[in-house]
Amino acid sequence: MFVTIEYFGVPRQKTGVSSDSLSFANSPTSLFDVLTEIAERHTAFGEQCLTGDELSRETIINLNGDQFVRSLDTQVVNGDHILILSTDAGG
């Protein structure tokens, strides 16, 4: 299955790209697996994205422009868009 990752703000700066398209053998796949894959591709961002087995405080994730999620058990399916944002949406 394919998942599109969209990066905004600091995550975009750290990864150096505005989006990635990632493929996974299993559908659904957990958000943890997706982020682990991202962390391997973009080490500078990866260091900040996960704190051990948890999403770091500085990372905000939205699924398909709808719901914000924090649980790394969130199931991601083929065609999903994962938006990764800077901490602190406002200002």
Binding site: V10, E58, F68, L83, A89, G91
Partner: protein, 592 residues
């Protein structure tokens, strides 16, 4: 006996006579209203400021300092300007940071209250000598920046200045007060000063306050400064708040074309990366700040060689909201607002409203079209001169709608008269609640409820009563931040917010406060603000949103729909959570 962190006094300066008097403030008052917005509100209540037209001689305007000013705590060089607003008729508290805050506190005051009205343009000087009124005819008509430069030549390097531009002199309802390129921006405090014929407040002094635990304070300040270099503030340091634009656009919560849409065709051109690629960029900080979120960009056209400070809110209001897709026009518009001394959000909101009135045939100004950058600049010039349409535009969108009629109030982008910042309420419904109940009107600095919408604790497009408690919590945190005072961009470094802010205040004052004492303090501050508004004539019907947002879904996101009943349910839950009556009255007035 002196109080740690405080001088224990405020000075009242009468602009009519130039005379001043000092009054004491007790420790028990500081424990409830520690500084900034809280202290300013308390003093306005004490002086019955709700009784007076904000542009009358009798009105009061308070510059309120704080216990943290002058300490080594990062981002603490801040002050609040508090008055009744000429734009809303309700409480207005605007905050800003600069050396003015440091010098104002060193003048030996915890607050300075200005009242009266000078016969001719003047400046008011509060320093180690006797408080005095000096003529300012030579400054009248100058931009705030030019007036400040002139004052710098007139006074010693220790003096600092809060200055109005020509818009404040002419009492534009959303005129700002400026100092060192920063602005106490919202709600028209510049007009209040202008109505008093006061061009500038000048402060200086050498009076310091003591701290209860200096060693502990220095140690904690070092830790906070270190954290301020970390990931919690990285967005502000690296990109500035302009980084919000692409995110908001993607989520359809970027108000566009006067809230007709939630996304904007040319948003990519406004990202910090695109703005920086096309022009020179510099970065700066407020006084005593280790974060440095201020990103300035050069303007490629025009005559000015000054870089312009760009924030999400000024791009939003002067770009997408007016559907202006040319970044150069938006940067120029932003710079022009700074030169005149007007709030960019209210400027953009009022012009976008006028553009829609033209589109609907309610205003006969065919040149003023959505998307036209030259028209945007012309409209801002007219606000500056007051000529033609400028006479209406300088009143703000609510007052304009009341004059234009034809139920145009339904799409005037304001709450309580204050134009709405760049958060689409239908797509961010906890924020919709925050806007509706805000004491100074629609405001993203007094309610951080958007943080709830940007989290997994709420469904951002389906507001519920249970979000009210979370909205109250963000408002309480902001009330503490605005009263200690610390910059909101530091908030991400705190893990246990109320406990940690209690610790900071304890290091300064020795009061031994805990988390629940801070929460109670926050509740008391919000109650006092509400009391001020009730005394001004607030009624529950003011706590709402423009009809447009309650009647129809967002054009480009049909799921973003908010109805009156849902909003009312959230408002009732909010009022009860605050311990008020269901319709938002205080059970008893505090100041009695």
């Amino acid at each position: 006996m002196s109080i740690f962190g405080y001088h224990g006094v405020y000075t009242t300066v009468d602009a009519t006579t130039g005379t001043s008097s000092q009054s004491s403030i007790t420790e028990s008052t500081f424990r409830r209203f520690p500084g900034g917005s809280a202290l300013g509100t308390h003093l306005l209540l004490k002086h019955n400021a709700w009784q007076h037209d904000p542009l009358s001689a009798e009105s009061s305007l308070v510059f309120a300092f704080s216990p943290l000013i002058g300490s080594p705590l990062t981002t603490s060089a801040k002050f609040a300007v508090v008055s009744r607003s000429p734009l809303t008729g309700r409480l207005n508290d605007s905050l800003a940071s600069s050396s003015f805050a440091l010098a104002g506190k060193k003048s030996g005051n915890d607050a300075i209250l200005i009242t009266g009205k000078a016969e001719s343009p003047c400046i008011l000087v509060i320093d180690d000598q006797q408080t005095r009124k000096l003529p300012a005819d030579h400054l009248w008509g100058l931009s705030a920046e030019d007036a400040e430069a002139s004052l710098r030549e007139q006074f010693s390097g220790d003096h600092h200045f809060a200055v109005i531009g020509s818009a404040g002199e002419q009492q534009v309802a959303y005129a700002t007060i400026s100092h060192s390129g920063r602005h106490a921006g919202r709600g028209g405090s510049g007009a209040v000063l202008g109505a008093k014929n006061v061009k500038a407040i000048v402060v200086a002094g050498n009076q310091r306050t003591q701290w209860a635990d200096t060693d502990g304070l220095v140690k904690r300040a070092k830790q906070l400064s270190k954290l301020s270099f970390g990931p919690a503030t990285e967005k502000y340091r690296e990109l500035g708040t302009a980084a919000n634009l692409l995110v908001f656009n993607r989520l359809h919560c970027l108000p566009t074309r006067n809230f007709q849409r939630g996304s904007f065709a040319n948003s990519d051109q406004f990202s910090p990366e695109a703005l920086g690629a096309a022009r020179d960029k510099t970065r700066s900080s407020c006084a005593a700040c280790t974060i440095g979120c201020t990103h300035l960009y050069s303007i490629n056209s025009g005559t000015s060689n000054r870089n312009v400070r760009i924030e999400y809110e000024n791009i939003y209001a002067l770009g997408p909201l007016c559907d202006v897709q040319d970044p150069e026009a938006v940067l120029q518009a932003s710079q022009l607002c700074d030169e005149l001394g007007i709030d960019t959000i209210s400027t953009g909101g009022t012009i976008a409203f006028a553009m829609e009135c033209v589109e609907r045939g309610l205003l006969d100004e065919p040149w003023l079209r959505f998307g036209d950058g030259a028209a945007l600049l012309k409209a801002i010039h007219l606000i500056g001169t007051g000529a033609g349409l400028g006479k209406l535009l300088r009143l703000g969108s609510r007052a304009m709608a009341n004059i234009i009629g034809h139920n145009s109030i339904a799409f005037a982008p304001q709450v309580k008269g204050l134009e709405i910042p760049g958060y689409e309420p239908r797509a961010l419904q906890t924020m919709a609640l925050g806007f509706a109940v805000g004491t100074r009107g629609a405001d993203h600095n007094r309610s951080g409820a958007y943080e709830i919408d940007f989290s997994d604790t709420a469904d951002r497009r389906n507001g519920t009563a249970s979000a009210a408690r979370l909205a109250v919590d963000t408002e309480d945190k902001a009330a503490i931040m605005d009263s200690l005072i610390l910059c909101k961009f530091l908030r991400g470094v705190f893990i246990d917010y109320f406990a940690e802010t209690a610790e900071l205040l304890n290091l300064i004052t020795g009061w031994g406060l805990d988390q629940s004492a801070m929460q109670n303090m926050a509740r008391g501050i919000i109650d006092a603000k509400k009391e001020f508004n009730i005394r001004c004539g607030w009624t529950p019907v003011e706590d709402t949103l423009p009809q447009r947002m309650l009647n129809s879904a967002l054009q480009d996101d049909p799921e973003a729909r908010l109805d009156t009943q849902t909003l009312q349910t959230m408002i009732t839950a909010y009022n009860l959570e605050r311990g008020w009556t269901a319709d938002g009255y205080l059970d008893e007035m505090l100041s009695k």
